[in-house]
Symmetry: D2
Subunit: 198 residues, 4 copies
Amino acid sequence: MRMWDHKVPGIPDDLFIKSDRIPGPTKEEIRVLTISKTRLHKGSYVIDIGCGIGSLTVEAALQVAPMGKVFSIDKEKESIRLTKENAKRFGVEDIVTCVYGKAPEAMYDLPIVDSIIIGGGLSQDVIKTSAKKLKVNGCIVINSILLETSYTAIVELKKLNFKELEVIQAFIAKGREVGRKTMMIARNPITIISAKKS
Amino acid sequence: MRMWDHKVPGIPDDLFIKSDRIPGPTKEEIRVLTISKTRLHKGSYVIDIGCGIGSLTVEAALQVAPMGKVFSIDKEKESIRLTKENAKRFGVEDIVTCVYGKAPEAMYDLPIVDSIIIGGGLSQDVIKTSAKKLKVNGCIVINSILLETSYTAIVELKKLNFKELEVIQAFIAKGREVGRKTMMIARNPITIISAKKS
Amino acid sequence: MRMWDHKVPGIPDDLFIKSDRIPGPTKEEIRVLTISKTRLHKGSYVIDIGCGIGSLTVEAALQVAPMGKVFSIDKEKESIRLTKENAKRFGVEDIVTCVYGKAPEAMYDLPIVDSIIIGGGLSQDVIKTSAKKLKVNGCIVINSILLETSYTAIVELKKLNFKELEVIQAFIAKGREVGRKTMMIARNPITIISAKKS
Amino acid sequence: MRMWDHKVPGIPDDLFIKSDRIPGPTKEEIRVLTISKTRLHKGSYVIDIGCGIGSLTVEAALQVAPMGKVFSIDKEKESIRLTKENAKRFGVEDIVTCVYGKAPEAMYDLPIVDSIIIGGGLSQDVIKTSAKKLKVNGCIVINSILLETSYTAIVELKKLNFKELEVIQAFIAKGREVGRKTMMIARNPITIISAKKS
């Protein structure tokens, strides 16, 4: 039985298998905004760097199925295990290939792809290698929670001549019912940086 | 020629046909979050109340095509004209049916649907009629920019026994390049209220 | 020895005496914005309703000292104890009078004041009694973390003919150093509602 | 006649004399947060770099009066003129000394001060010179609307061994009455970076 059969991204956070040792999932609303910037098609190939528990991997896989592929990289064995479990849970285990290792090295043997998502482990080298692994007009989408990382990403993408650079800061608060009233609980602000390869 | 052939929601704002007399489009990121909460499928039927220039209509139509339907209501003739033009521009004119009139009256003759989006013209009566026009488990998604409207929507949805009520406030800022640097420009905060019919 | 001798509001959060049983302090930045809206003078009289650990009480007392007064109300004994301790810690114990009890009843015997701060325990009755306890042109400042409470406050202040009504939503994130980089940690959004008695 | 006689910072935006050619004032809530981080006393000496129409200058001057000093630097003649006019309007013309010129050069002849506010014209050189012009434990407070500038400021302050570095992002929205309801209008997010000289 499939847990989720909607076409639009936005799987509720609590449907994912979690672990105390790995942060995640990427919160629903941030996942939705991130996936939107990947501009995926049916059949697209995607690399998800720093896949964590696999929440972006699953959302991307649901978009590119049944012919596309998602290559999910993480340097934590536990993340690889959880990503595989979540892929199975959402019926996309045939779409997802997990790669245990550190980017950029773990990207070297992967094919050229349509989109690259960087949720963790960002560095100049990862962006440089991403530029090599992307098709022309392919999308790179970076989720950054560190001010310095946002800066590095913007500078590096400009240096590599990426086009249509977009920087978005999302402050999202979600209501929690407290005594029949609605208390707004903030999520940490996130910067979503996206661009296309020239 | 189709202007946009991506599967995930998130059409760039400047691809829509606009008018000085009608506000809109709903900004890209808000559209993406709103469409996400509609939980659409291929084949879903949708009502879009207060469709404005038709940006949410088009995004919904792209998700439900080729068998679904979007009924787009607005009390401004100019909105109806723009919604039709934008539907044509994005190749979904066969999916979209425009209804010129004021909700809730303009909803009376519409069929039962899977999701209702309320982008404008919210009132208690519109929510009451929406409850009648939704399938069980159907989603209502309300975009509110007025504090009092958010309150009314929450109170009314609780009274009508809607379930899985979610309230999200999204503060989004988007970078604009100023002298080779990135100035973050805020968009007005929006409250997205969603729930399912019991 | 005085712990803090600056003239401008904004005592760092960790200088207050805290307790596991009482939430608080009101975060530094929210305190600063709230105190700003009270438009205090040296010599002003203030009521602080729902004083919690006394952080707004202390900031207000530092502004109105040495001739002003702050009356701090809370229905929790522990809050009264902490407010007294914090008043002593910041050298304003002679300015602060603690009132143990529930508003509005606990306000009945207090004098007419220049400003009223409502940090907790807001209700229509508290606003009505506040209107009676304020001088003409006196300021009411309400901190609300509940959507419904913000609505009630706005409606009630309009009904009571308050003037210069202002509604502010503040989303504040504060950097935390993580591996020599800056991670932005969100605080829950707060609505600050202020107005003057006609 | 004095226009404003409150002790706490937070002069309403529309009380300042403005000009089409110079942006400003710094919005009330941002001014309040900024002044708070300067930790001013009566008698403090302050430098305000990029003073614009003088709104931070006036707020600082009201805090340090009657014995303190504010040195206000701007490279636009029109800014110097407006700052002088606003200082007169708020009765602090004897506290404020305007310096027409570009920082850091325009700072060379100024005395050592307690606090430096950088509202515009930030550069590495301005921060370096600021470090020389500050007393030990003196505060530097930077308002940044550019992502790259925030980064530069943080890196430079760390390099110069500043302590108690704080980074705050403030997203503020203010209600505007629309048809007897409250529409929240966003202000652009601002990053406030503060630190003390070691």
